[in-house]
Symmetry: none
Subunit: 225 residues, 4 copies
Amino acid sequence: MTGRPAQNRTADAAKRKPKFRRRAEARPDDILDAALKLFSIKGFSPARMEDVAKEAGISKGAIYLYFPSKKALLEGLIRRAVVPVADSALQMIAAHRGDPRPVIRKFLTMVAGAIKGPDGFAVPKLVIREAAAVPEIARMYREEVIDKALPAMTGLIAQGVEGGYIRDVDPELTVRTVIGPLFMHVLLDEVFGIRPEDGLAIDRLVDNHLTILMAGLAPERNGAR
Amino acid sequence: MTGRPAQNRTADAAKRKPKFRRRAEARPDDILDAALKLFSIKGFSPARMEDVAKEAGISKGAIYLYFPSKKALLEGLIRRAVVPVADSALQMIAAHRGDPRPVIRKFLTMVAGAIKGPDGFAVPKLVIREAAAVPEIARMYREEVIDKALPAMTGLIAQGVEGGYIRDVDPELTVRTVIGPLFMHVLLDEVFGIRPEDGLAIDRLVDNHLTILMAGLAPERNGAR
Amino acid sequence: MTGRPAQNRTADAAKRKPKFRRRAEARPDDILDAALKLFSIKGFSPARMEDVAKEAGISKGAIYLYFPSKKALLEGLIRRAVVPVADSALQMIAAHRGDPRPVIRKFLTMVAGAIKGPDGFAVPKLVIREAAAVPEIARMYREEVIDKALPAMTGLIAQGVEGGYIRDVDPELTVRTVIGPLFMHVLLDEVFGIRPEDGLAIDRLVDNHLTILMAGLAPERNGAR
Amino acid sequence: MTGRPAQNRTADAAKRKPKFRRRAEARPDDILDAALKLFSIKGFSPARMEDVAKEAGISKGAIYLYFPSKKALLEGLIRRAVVPVADSALQMIAAHRGDPRPVIRKFLTMVAGAIKGPDGFAVPKLVIREAAAVPEIARMYREEVIDKALPAMTGLIAQGVEGGYIRDVDPELTVRTVIGPLFMHVLLDEVFGIRPEDGLAIDRLVDNHLTILMAGLAPERNGAR
DNA sequence: AATGAATGAGGCTTCATTCAT
DNA sequence: CATGAATGAAGCCTCATTCAT
């Protein structure tokens, strides 16, 4: 759950290519954009440095002016995407008091928004794919994203249970129920191309999920079950 | 959501190797076991045929007696895992009439059981990883698993809504809410090593999720919303 | 001072090449022969593995079946050449008692013989060239050859001085006078193509050198100097 | 046997670099100094132009303002070192009449002096290393140094023999006996780090060698041998 | 004149695949 | 059937050289 703006410098670079030599400016970012694209399409290992270079509008060797190795490219990719997440959304959650359900609603909406953009899910998907082979990126992503987001949500739910806003559930496991559906929705789309007829429909997904979730988390009326 | 019955011949083969010449039958399955293991650990592309051979207790060349290429190994892997799923569980679902919620409960429990075993999630994870690079396996898995399971569940929910057993939700999207949490739970475990303190706890996860889910799907008491 | 027989398997291999695949036998030695040749001609760094392979009559990849890297090839080269030297000639020297001058004569003749063959000096020359860049080979050659030969000669001379067979010289430095000329002779030939009109004439060189050396080492007649 | 007068501007340049922009003159010499240092340490081929530039305190591109290629750098190096030798010492030798042994003594002392300085042997060693790969430098060094020094010494000895100052030896081969030990001494030091306990001790080496050499060259007393 | 970013040919090494045994 | 030596295409990375600034 991250995403990155990724300005399309790539296209511009391609146009300027006719010139024999080019000049510096935002090269590392261009390269990371290109790498993200190709690693996403072909996977880290099969993607060729030459293709990344071409996509970035530079030469093979130029990449090594900014990144010492292919693996460093991957790590740089994750690192760049991971930084902004850290503090932005989570303050809101951790600081909350009172009924946590509006916060949950806001959180899911926010995540949905981040994912909707083009390649909004590219980095997480890449992490999932390559985590087994490149443990560093799994660790980095875990430490910077998961280990911050998950406890925040868990705490929010725990506090909701204590405050009587939420039925007596296991907070740690309930987090899966909260975000799992959103995750699954995107994965079905990204991996198998499975999506509702009217496009990604991520807003409708969140709405539908929230309807069920809120009812499901609501404290039992009297004691019925 | 599959798993592979394929008994762990791998380990046995390795043990017997030094002694007796390996048995002549069941070779392809041994190879697929080895391939699954190595593709899971290192990824498809970085895994070497030689390692697969060693893991299977045979020679490099012997693999090619049964599989024409590395890619065929991957496809064979998916195909093997995919076949049994097809018909087993889904009949139950498609055939159902009446309150669908017990079926949902049974379904999730069943899937949880399949995943719990060692490498019960290996194949789906492999599909997720390699789908972008090897479209064939994405297609195959989609056609054989997803396109059977998803509509079955969707129909079950739709019918539940019609029958008044389930609140008025979008069946297609609700499927994500039903199975997403289970999926997320396993992925957190497999990719990041994140799991509850008492182990995978997949049964507790299902219990907790079902509690929320059933309450969330229950028809509104009178008509409020 | 070493040399190696180096049977010309190379040529034969070339003839057999028309066959698509070849069989194993003395492959590592063939490869070392080829490597020695090419490293000698072009130097270690500029020599290409592909050329070594071609010279050896095999494919690029086949080299790596026997040697893990280019550097290992160089080290293997030195190691192979170095082993035989160790014990052969030096026993004679170390064991000697009495007038050492006949032994010196024998020693120089022996070394001259070893050098005379084709490429008899190839390995030492390679060591000299690459020692600065690949310290391992310098160390290996030093430990296996120099550190055995030099002390043996030094001891021989020291004992000759003590026994009154040799004038009062510094044994450690005199070793340079004993073998330096032979060394210089070969180097002039190998590096600059400078040799007497009648070919390498190494026997004549030794004769001439011995004449001077023996007179030079002889104890002073009465006491003059 | 040469050495290079070229004052060690290298070290100075490095020190001044951070402060003032470097002086505009004498750049080529700085570059050659840097090149000599790096070629000596790593060898011609492995040494990188960038490192040479850094060592010289200038930029990569600046080298190409003075030398058209890496090879030209090597050749320039040799050429610079070679010029002074040509005329200086050899006049003395060629012009000599009478007993040549004092001249030999003077010559060896002179060469020893040239070698003693830091890197006094760097160029010859470089020539030896790269001669096989870059024939131009071998030829140049030969023509400018060897072909001048060797015949001069040969002639000196020949004349000594004719004049009865030296025993009846082959002048061409005797040259090896005269200078070989000095050469060997330095090579043992430079290549293998082998030197007498009290340092290079090149003066003692020359003394010891001369003792033997003079006695060895002296005409036979009456006829004994 | 000087810089150093950029290029791209080329080298080492890997590994899927073949095939002689 | 099985083996594993051998092949050779291909990938990562280096670095001499160029040239826009």
